[in-house]
Symmetry: C2
């Protein structure tokens, strides 16, 4: 059998130790599949003394991760340190500059610096791989960049953040409110102490921008993702959506329009209403799922574990196996120089139905004020319900579903009502996903 | 840009003309993704004069598909002729012998001759690719052999035949019986004039054996797939299943047991009861879906269009793009010599719940006879319902769900009741899929 592929592993958190465990547990099988053994030679992390539940005595230890790139006993560097810049980025640049392949699970770094790194890797003739950066154990980057490569992708959307999905589906199952479920998720270790990146949609936006670049052959535009998280979703919204035949999910969605001049890119992360009979309505807990729609393949769905040590390690090692097989690929499914500049799309042209919820003071004229704003903005109301909230005196909820119409009309209605005295909080508008 | 990759296309049926349309429509995009243009140079089919709705005047025509392999204007041969042997197999062997890569959508040929062809392709240093042979437009072969490559796969199962799924979901929606829905599907072109391969599960068995070889690193054993089709599923079964919280789906399932000596392979195609909250319960119409369970990645689901010209062409051209990118892969995710011989598993050890339905004469003692057989075989009954059939005089249906227990006990009960006078047809046993 061929020479082993020698791996340096930077970062020994949950995913890093998962990679160690996987490569040890499945060593024999991996060697058969990769046509050569895969061997970790050196590891690095902040604290050498920490007990991680895996035996590291067989590997060299390097206190300087950035230096691992140039070690003679290393063919591929695996970065699981995290952070969009700093040591992770230094390590990526050093590894590629040293003419070695680089594998990472770092979505923030790829969302911010993916284009630069992909171009450098091509120049150096090495692989840059980041399957684990999006949707954990689901091979969605491979699925899009290779499996769906023959298609013009028209739209991608999906559930890209396991923490949000866990919180929303727990709210759904228990009727509890966001803050309560978040606190529990933090106690259980399902949410970070600072949950902002997850619950405000930033993590999903990182992943969406990576998928969009691959799907549409465009340059990464993380800066242009319109992002709304789930912190303002109420238990009452979930109950109301259910009564109407929907569940609420945080959906990242991207569409491209190549019909005129500079291609336009629409990217948005926002809670949506998903009808019960849509496959995404049955994605519960920390599961992730991605839908891609292509001009020949039709609709494709990938679903699986979106996080966790095992699934993420599975994606990291799949990348290593590709490299061992000599299949380097290119970062974003085509050479970096081929990726087109794309301008953010205005969303006003989008047509659809929306759910809009107001929390208002229970006093005369409030409903008239809201419905007048809808009329003036040209929003046609399909159904409306007003109900008191048990938990807060004097406050009621007004929830409506619109007929199909332009999103710009909904935005205009929101603008008219901005700062209205009778609203106790800004309204929340969520698009309804069609069949 | 690099030289075009030159394609010979044998077979111009629905999928063949789909490939022509795709390669023309998405030419510019494919060249960017493949890093070189992909160009059809020569085509071949039985009838040159037939109008196929695509302009073939730009391609050479060859009356002898087998001879295309040795033409100097061909780099890759795409076989869409079909049939497990005959011209398709000759073309495959000729192409590989000529040192050229071979792409096919032919599940029957791969199920029967895949191992031989994979070994020959490795020997010749060319690619053998057959993504389109399983589950149409879903990149499940790539997903298993590359995306999930780091995992020991414990089980794969899924909905692999679109015709059966269309018939079952139409029976479900309309309450009509099998024969009636099949006849309609034939009129609409969703089912073949001779539907045996589809409705008796042979097509699904071909696909299952291919997936099992890839998932478990074993030699293909199409001969060892235990196959039961859907032709004996009654509208009454579907109604009864629904009342119990299930839908009926034709499921192909494979499991491997490496725990002792020669690995054991369990492969079965059979209608199953799927609980409403399982992702496969929401796979309707001609959609396919495959679930793979790995020791690190957990459960992965791929879902999409299982047939049709566009989706199948998408898979064919994805294989061509891989070849254009220089990523040849190996047929079954590891070299043919590494694939282990596997022996068929006895299924008796499997534990689960089952649905068993009898059609019986409406006379005293029938229920006693059935329940006595269950008792004697050690099958524990969880629930039982007896109801008359409206459409056939004197015949009633007895449907039961068993408690969890060994499949061998259910088989034994079936054996005891074999040929019993009171049964008007052989009973139908269907396993119930767990969560």
């Amino acid at each position: 059998m061929a020479e082993p592929l020698k791996i340096a592993l930077a970062g020994l958190g949950t995913v890093g130790t998962g990679v160690v465990r996987l490569i040890e547990t499945n060593a024999e099988l991996i060697a058969r599949r990769a046509r050569r053994p895969i061997r970790i030679t050196v590891v690095s992390a902040r604290d050498r003394g920490k007990d991680r539940g895996v035996d590291l005595s067989g590997y060299a230890w390097d206190d300087d991760p950035a230096g691992m790139a140039t070690r003679p006993d290393v063919d591929v560097v695996v970065e699981l340190v995290g952070g969009s810049d700093g040591p992770a980025l230094t390590l990526a640049r050093n590894t590629i500059a040293a003419g070695k392949s680089f594998v990472t699970a770092n979505k923030a770094m790829i969302a911010h610096h993916g284009l630069e790194l992909a171009a450098a890797a091509e120049q150096a003739g090495v692989a840059l791989k980041f399957e684990a950066a999006v949707a954990g154990g689901i091979p969605v980057i491979k699925g899009l960049s290779e499996g769906a490569a023959a298609n013009e992708i028209e739209r991608i959307y999906g559930i890209l953040n396991g923490t949000c999905n866990y919180i929303l589906s727990t709210m759904e199952d228990t009727g509890r409110d966001f803050a309560d479920v978040l606190a529990e998720a933090q106690r259980l270790g399902y949410a970070e102490a600072d949950p902002t990146f997850d619950v405000e949609g930033v993590d999903a936006a990182h992943k969406l921008s990576i998928l969009a670049a691959i799907a549409f052959g465009g340059q990464l535009r993380f800066d242009a993702v319109e992002t709304t998280g789930i912190s303002r979703v109420l238990a009452a919204d979930i109950a109301q959506a259910r009564a109407l035949g929907y569940v609420i999910r945080l959906i990242g969605m991207a569409e491209a329009d190549f019909s005129q001049g500079t291609p336009r890119l629409f990217q948005r992360v926002r809670p949506h209403l998903v009808p019960f009979d849509h496959p995404l309505a049955h994605v519960d807990g920390a599961t992730n799922a991605v839908v891609a729609e292509g001009n020949f393949m039709g609709r494709l769905l990938f679903q699986g574990a979106g996080a966790g040590d095992g699934p993420t390690a599975s994606a990291v090692v799949a990348d290593i196996i590709d490299i061992a097989r000599g299949e380097k690929g290119v970062g974003f499914s085509m050479p970096a120089a081929e990726l087109r500049a794309m301008e953010p799309a205005t969303t006003g042209h989008r047509i659809g139905r929306a759910y809009i919820r107001f929390t208002v003071l229970d006093r005369p004229g409030v409903l008239a004020e809201i419905t007048a704003a809808m009329r003036d903005a040209g929003v046609s109301i399909e159904s409306l319900i007003q109900k008191g909230r048990d938990d807060e005196a004097g406050e009621v909820i007004v929830a409506m579903v619109t007929h199909e119409g332009p999103e710009s009309a909904v935005s205009e209605a929101m603008r008219i009502l901005e700062g209205a005295d009778s609203l106790t909080a800004p309204p929340l508008a969520m698009q309804i996903i069609g069949q």
